[in-house]
């Protein structure tokens, strides 16, 4: 899937740049794209270390297990077949909380911890488990209670009420999230987990 999308975008870009006469811009874009990836990764490196460290404390102290016992009954409704003592529960909860509060720079490193733990229960498979797919879909349709970035930009452009879009945004995200989760549950039967 990613393979085809990637190839399609690259071929499409080269062909359009020939017709648009944007070969120079395209070359520049290709050269800078690698640096953009490295810059972004570097800017996240500190938070990766931070959350790896904190999660290590949570595991060694047993906080992870305590959290699993607490939240398994709720999360098991969504994440079917999740191990009761799964170490993934704590990072999943923290990831959901940070997403809700719009802390995307925190949600990502914690989410990586969560998917690593989920993948521990997926050993010997080359495709993601149903739970891993669900987790990524939930993150890409992230529900935010406060769209901070949007509100800031609106305020900068002298909106009379920057936060007036809050309720419509939440309603829209909830619907999108429901569609995402439902589609995941329906389609998981048709895509083999191998």
């Amino acid at each position: 899937m990613m393979n085809y999308i990637w190839i399609a975008i690259i071929f499409f870009s080269v062909i359009t740049s020939v017709f648009n006469g944007t070969a120079n811009e395209l070359s520049k874009g290709i050269i800078t794209s690698g640096n953009t990836a490295v810059d972004l990764c570097f800017s996240l490196l500190g938070t990766f270390c931070l959350w790896n460290g904190l999660m290590n404390i949570a595991e060694k102290s047993g906080l992870s297990k305590t959290c699993s016992k607490l939240f398994t009954p709720i999360l098991c409704r969504l994440f079917k077949g999740l191990n009761k003592n799964s170490e993934a529960i704590l990072p999943i909860c923290l990831n959901i909380t940070s997403n809700l509060l719009g802390l995307s720079n925190t949600a990502t490193p914690i989410g990586i911890e969560a998917i690593k733990k989920l993948s521990k229960e997926n050993i010997g498979k080359s495709t993601p488990s149903n739970n891993m797919v669900l987790f990524v879909v939930m993150n890409s349709a992230a529900l935010r209670l406060i769209p901070t970035t949007v509100a800031t930009i609106r305020a900068n452009h002298e909106s009379t009420n920057p936060l007036e879009i809050l309720t419509p945004s939440i309603i829209t995200s909830i619907c999108a999230l429901i569609v995402g989760i439902t589609m995941t549950k329906i389609l998981e039967r048709f895509f083999k987990h191998e």
């Binding site: 870009s13 270390c49 930009i153 809050l166």
Partner: protein
């Protein structure tokens, strides 16, 4: 509300470290041991992000977005998605920074309290960068075949784009 956001990180950290102290483990040493693995995460997601950014950057700099916009305008009209927001919709699953700068220019041009400004705001506030999430999370665990992930995520994005206009009309213009 924004106060809760400011307190949540300190609270997370306080709980995690507090529990470690309560269980009498070597909190500092354990943190250092774990933090070492941060670099592994860095190394594992860099390849997939490089691939993603190459495709995104090529699409943007070849002005391919403009062509896709032209092709999709009739579809957007049919679904009552304002054509002005279309470039943002196309960019938003692949590039967070890209769609944000289009969003800013929409707000600058039409004003934050206009119909288009409001629809764009709701779209921006209710979507995340789908392919970035896929690249980062699956990159971190080394998965290349992603089953139905992209389809489901894109369906969720698509729902946001269609609903944004409908809900803004219901909310502000009825």
């Amino acid at each position: 509300m924004s106060n809760i956001s400011a307190y949540i990180l300190p609270i997370f950290i306080l709980i995690i470290i507090g529990f470690g102290v309560y269980k009498k483990i070597d909190v500092f040493g354990t943190f250092i041991d774990g933090a070492k693995k941060g670099f592994d995460v860095f190394l594992s997601i860099l390849p997939s992000l490089t691939a993603l950014f190459l495709a995104v950057q090529m699409l943007k700099s070849s002005q391919g977005i403009e062509i896709i916009t032209k092709i999709l305008t009739p579809v957007a009209d049919l679904l009552k998605i304002p054509a002005e927001t279309l470039p943002m919709c196309i960019l938003s699953p692949i590039s967070g920074g890209g769609s944000l700068s289009v969003y800013e220019s929409i707000i600058g041009e039409y004003g934050p309290d206009s119909y288009i400004g409001r629809v764009a705001s709701v779209m921006m506030g209710s979507t995340e960068t789908t392919f970035y999430a896929i690249a980062v999370y699956y990159g971190a665990v080394g998965i290349k075949k992603i089953r139905h992930t992209a389809i489901c995520s894109l369906c969720a994005d698509f729902t946001s784009f269609i609903l944004a206009g409908i809900i803004v009309r219901l909310f502000f213009y009825k």
